[in-house]
Symmetry: C2
Subunit: 249 residues, 2 copies
Amino acid sequence: MSLDHLPRHQGGADALARLLGQALLAGSWQPGEVFPRELDLCQHFDVSRNQVRNALASLTATGLIERTAGRGTRVCQISDWHLLDPLMSEWLAGLEAPDPKLVREIFAFRYSAEPVVASLAANAAVAADIAAIEQAFDGMRDTASAQQAARHVEYDLAFHEAIYRASHNMVWRQMGHLLRPSIMALIQHSQHSVATLDDSLVRHGRVLAAIREGQPQTAERTAREVLKRTAIDLGIVAEEADTLPSNEC
Amino acid sequence: MSLDHLPRHQGGADALARLLGQALLAGSWQPGEVFPRELDLCQHFDVSRNQVRNALASLTATGLIERTAGRGTRVCQISDWHLLDPLMSEWLAGLEAPDPKLVREIFAFRYSAEPVVASLAANAAVAADIAAIEQAFDGMRDTASAQQAARHVEYDLAFHEAIYRASHNMVWRQMGHLLRPSIMALIQHSQHSVATLDDSLVRHGRVLAAIREGQPQTAERTAREVLKRTAIDLGIVAEEADTLPSNEC
DNA sequence: GCTTGTCAAAATGTCAGACATTTAATAGGC
DNA sequence: GCCTATTAAATGTCTGACATTTTGACAAGC
């Protein structure tokens, strides 16, 4: 694959890294394929070699490419990608049409992890944490219409992230980055009818209540109910089934 | 804090990044404090500005420092560190005496997450996965003596990582990086008497059996038993109590 | 006295060119 | 046919100069 169809004018090395990173995430190059050389990138984007090297360094850090002197640059296997890198989450969230397999993979993680996080939050949340969750919930409620989908998902995001933070654990908190690509994908599948939005809201409210009242087991159960709703909205499961999405490849 | 007591001769930019990263992780600079300037680092380590800049770029990517033109370089808050970055795990694992608070934080994560992972593995593991776990377990059994502690922890590590892989989920698999710093810390607290090693081995064996026989609930319960043992060996809880380590700060 | 504008210093960011090193392919000798 | 030396091509590194951003000092003006 060549880079003919990539837009030219950029802001800086970060913008270039995002452009190339998103192209890689979108599958413009196959794993194992050779990536364009530095000088070709310089010429195509009309930037200095410095900027290209900085951008490629970011791509290397996220595990998207692998570089060796004399050999060149190769595209890494999908299994080597550093999905937990904040840069990666940002690029992924900005994609028009992220790989459905990747969305499913991230969601499967959330489905197994988030009930535990909600349970931890119910144990550890203090007043400020609960206030943050409540504020996000209010925002979701006030934007529960198809016209305000963009603002709604932002509040949705804030709701879940606040729960991760309320777990009061550094590692879980950092994992909140994964929420953005997962929840942004909801915009694509805009099956957000009034009915589903309302159902989703009710389920979110139950998690909030469980955390506020410090009931870990209820929080765990209701969080799972939220994710079942989300799985439908993401198009991962067809209808409300009681079976969770399996992890078989 | 100055950099007077840091060793001089290095291998390359990666080695310099590790050196500085580990110094930051060890708390040689306080959060918010200004970090030495590029030219001072060049002079002290007798390397080119290029190498220094590459090393500092790695530190920036891991969230350890923050750089702004004209202002300088500052050390970030601990809460901003990218614990999930593989580089960070590697640096942490190589530390002589990692921050006990950090070890505890990572362990608290494992305590809540690993039972779920074991449960997923019991559902998703195929023959190759089980073989990998078994092989690691055999290695643990054959090195269950205080003299072979170094080799033992490697097998211990392989055991848990194999379980993460057996979950057949990209995100969980990547999180296996966190195991190394957590398990390497076991070497410091070498309370590895024959009795505790044996107890640990028995508990690991129960997890293996549950995964092999595809029993998620048993895997979840036995994985938690393994971690209770580990919590004692890490010095996180004093004695065998039925209460889990809480997440309060 | 307070504000404001300008200047200078110090730090990081960027550029361009030459050179070093590594890798892989290729041609030649035997 | 196999081994070796050479060459080409790619990434890695060094160096010096310059650009940009931030901060503080200082002086002019109201």
